[in-house]
Symmetry: C2
Subunit: 353 residues, 2 copies
Amino acid sequence: MSYFDNVRQVTPYVPGEQPVVTGDLIKLNTNENPYPPSPKVKDAVEALPIDEMRLYPNTTAAPLAEALAAYHGLRPEQVFVGVGSDDVLATCFLTFFAGKDPVLFPDITYYFYDVWAELYRIPYERIPLDENFRIVPDDYRKKNGGIVIANPNAPTSIGEPMDFIEGIVKDHPDSVVIVDEAYIDYGGETSLPLLQKYKNLVIVRTFSKSRSFAGMRVGYAMADSKLIEALNSVKFSINSYTMNCTAIAYGVASVQDEPYFREMIAKIVKTRDKTAERLASLGFTCLPSQANFLFATHETVPAQEIFTYLKTKNIYVRFFNKPRIDNYLRITIGTDEQMDRLIETLSGMLENR
Amino acid sequence: MSYFDNVRQVTPYVPGEQPVVTGDLIKLNTNENPYPPSPKVKDAVEALPIDEMRLYPNTTAAPLAEALAAYHGLRPEQVFVGVGSDDVLATCFLTFFAGKDPVLFPDITYYFYDVWAELYRIPYERIPLDENFRIVPDDYRKKNGGIVIANPNAPTSIGEPMDFIEGIVKDHPDSVVIVDEAYIDYGGETSLPLLQKYKNLVIVRTFSKSRSFAGMRVGYAMADSKLIEALNSVKFSINSYTMNCTAIAYGVASVQDEPYFREMIAKIVKTRDKTAERLASLGFTCLPSQANFLFATHETVPAQEIFTYLKTKNIYVRFFNKPRIDNYLRITIGTDEQMDRLIETLSGMLENR
């Protein structure tokens, strides 16, 4: 017997590398936004009195939940705010999946789903995507303790329309269905209107991508108030105060600058579509993207070789050494200038082979 | 069968009321610091480029872990940083208490310990404090899956010396012993030197009290690197990035201003000791405090009556409607001016009875 015998053994999620961004390093590996947050955030930084830091923040981040509710046309009781969508999703798994039947999600999707299920000892089953990396709703028609769909999916970048999601939600009235809309702002169709009709639907969003707030850790869930109340009960059983005063105040400022938000999204979508064309001319195939990244495979050169080469040129993209996707690269959309350097570097590599 | 059947049912912790501090309201109910954080934090706010918010923060809050390690004479691998000590303690419970034997802690202590044990389905047993609200180490000599001691204890305010803690740590080489030092800076004796000798000891601290950072959500654990590694594995199974860029940068600034830190602590200790004397002259008995609060009972007037009266006068203190302590008030130490008004208000109440 040793004090270490009672220590929980887990295999944690391994996030993308976070090299320090200096000099000519181009970081296209963790789907961050290449543009800074709204200038209104800068104003909020200057407006926050440091004396406020000595007081506990609002337990439910109410000012931010209210701003988000107003933005999405919901009631504040329908919004739960957390420390990035990872915190929100982890809390959803712990709260909504306390049953004995397996929770279902695609075999190729956000890898954290497995990790949370393992940590909280939730039974789960991975349902294979079809050969075109699409979700097959019929395959989910089995006894389950919940369903999780990332839409658009990651790392595939493929989105499905609201009707498609509605089919799944309708098929499973006895399951909580979580739709992870981390990448929805880049051209996907949101399932938000379905919240009017379905009480078993939870939609999760993040500020990390489209709001340039990866460093501020803000995410949220939207659902019927009964599910949000259950989420809050679990949250209050872990940490009464998760959102610090800066995340709340700066988050509100971000939500209130819609023109800037739309402008930055339009820029990235334009850069993405141009980049996909240029990659095609170099012999790459990109899956049809509704996200701020491309999932690309080359006709002759193995993904891992390209990944390694790009790194020597100080360009970081993401490579997953996993079944079915180990010949693909996930490439975050950066600025036009960054994409120019990516394309030039790839051209140089492919010419010299 | 309904989608709600799989939802986890829990009884969450109920934090102290958080009224909006305006006008003449005096908030002495959640042990916040009445003084603002170090002026160096203000400099850090101005120095942080908002462009940094678009990038994911350091996964282990390394700059802050390093600053804390240097401050305490430890190696960075011995420090784990979290979203307030509640996040740190919850992660400790989940990580270190995965065994089948009950985790032991006092019957009167921080009420979150029960809540985490319940949430994570950890067996536990509450060991009664003696009639003077002291911990009896002999009572812990039984089979257990871990031990948690708050030192100084809350809400009693009583601290024990390092030798006392060492006795418990030594008695239980096969258990992880967590010492929650949330209030240690106000005159208690830290158990930090014991980390040199015992690999089963974990010491947890918070920035919420002595560093005036309740609103910033920063806490940390110190232990042997093997336990810290286990904590990080569980943390990486929940949320890769918990500390936002402001908490990291402002936290470092706080740690680097030792003179201000010492000055504010000395002020509060002085105010506390004066307040205890004045309360005694009004017929109160305060337990001997090594914290930034007093635990006080009146010789004739019930605690709940005083609590309710003070609230009508816009002074918030904490009352726990719990066995053994329901005739006590927990009173946070505020500024001298706030304590003057408290004493005047109490005098007025007691005179008019």
